[in-house]
Subunit: 187 residues, 2 copies
């Protein structure tokens, strides 16, 4: 069974986090939801619009060896905290070094860029590319895959992003099944 | 400021609940997330795919006089619990009697039907119409509005449903702003 790590930091975009986790679990992927821990460790993490979600693991005990992929939800507050977290930054480098999958949506590709793990072709939330780079950026696709790095644009592309992850980590039949069950014709 | 009540029962569909709450709050609507309370009262409510969300109010202290609308997320387990809850059923009748807005998505129109508050034209998750009625059912629209009852189809239509609620309770300019910010071109 494929296993994915989703770190949540205060100010995460709730649609992105929940749609990704939900779609991946519907596809049979085991998903760990990690809180950042440290001095203010709390498994209840509050998102950008005041929706609080319960995480199930402290990121400080997470290692890349237990996962196939790490995926970061966006939201500017959440992304800044993920970009500033030494643990998240070192995990991203570990996933890259071990040739594992890495994903980010909305503002979160910025956290990949900061860790030096973003590949050439990517997408992100409109205008965030100004803080990353124009070269390699596209706004024409909901999901961009370059090597083992997947990126997506924002809340309304999160279901499609989750489906692409299911297609890669599980298979196209499961992708079709989850797409049909969730009525995601637009992906 | 418009105010909406979203009751969450164990087994609720997480994409539907979170997308609705997020979009409504982005539109400036105050949203109360209610847990069912009773013997097993717990403000942490677990959804159909194991995602736990924190509610902020016990449904037993909620009255229709404090709200403009009640909206029910789907998920078959959550819907069954909402349909079986005397408090939710009596609230639905109160909202109807007081000419307030009522909404439901996915399997949840069944809970409206059970309370006798579903208007003639409606939509729901495919095949749930077999448990409601064929007359008045359509699968051609993401969101159906008949009088003050709004219905929608499933996870991938939840953003569009939230946007329609924003259009009605707040206005078309805010609808356009939230639609653009969330990249919801498909609505």
């Amino acid at each position: 069974m494929a296993k994915v790590l989703v770190p949540l930091a205060e100010g995460f975009e709730e649609i992105e986090a929940v749609n990704l986790i939900n779609i991946m679990r519907r596809g049979g992927i085991e998903v760990d939801i990690a809180y950042l821990g440290g001095d203010f460790a709390n498994d209840l993490v509050v998102g950008a619009n005041g929706i609080t979600i319960q995480a199930n693991i402290d990121i400080n005990i997470c290692s890349s060896y237990d996962y196939d992929m790490i995926v970061l939800p966006g939201g500017s507050g959440g992304t800044n905290r993920l970009a500033q977290s030494e643990k998240v930054q070192s995990l991203l480098k570990e996933f890259k070094a071990n040739d594992l999958w890495i994903g980010a949506i909305c503002a979160a590709p910025l956290a990949l860029h900061k860790a030096g793990v973003l590949n050439h072709n990517y997408t992100c939330y409109p205008s965030v590319e100004e803080q990353i780079r124009f070269d390699g950026y596209t706004k024409e696709q909901k999901v961009v895959i370059d090597g083992k790095v997947m990126t997506s644009r924002g809340p309304a592309t999160a279901i499609c992003f989750g489906l692409e992850i299911v297609k890669i980590l599980v298979g196209v039949e499961t992708y079709d099944m989850v797409k049909n069950k969730t009525l995601s014709d637009f992906c």
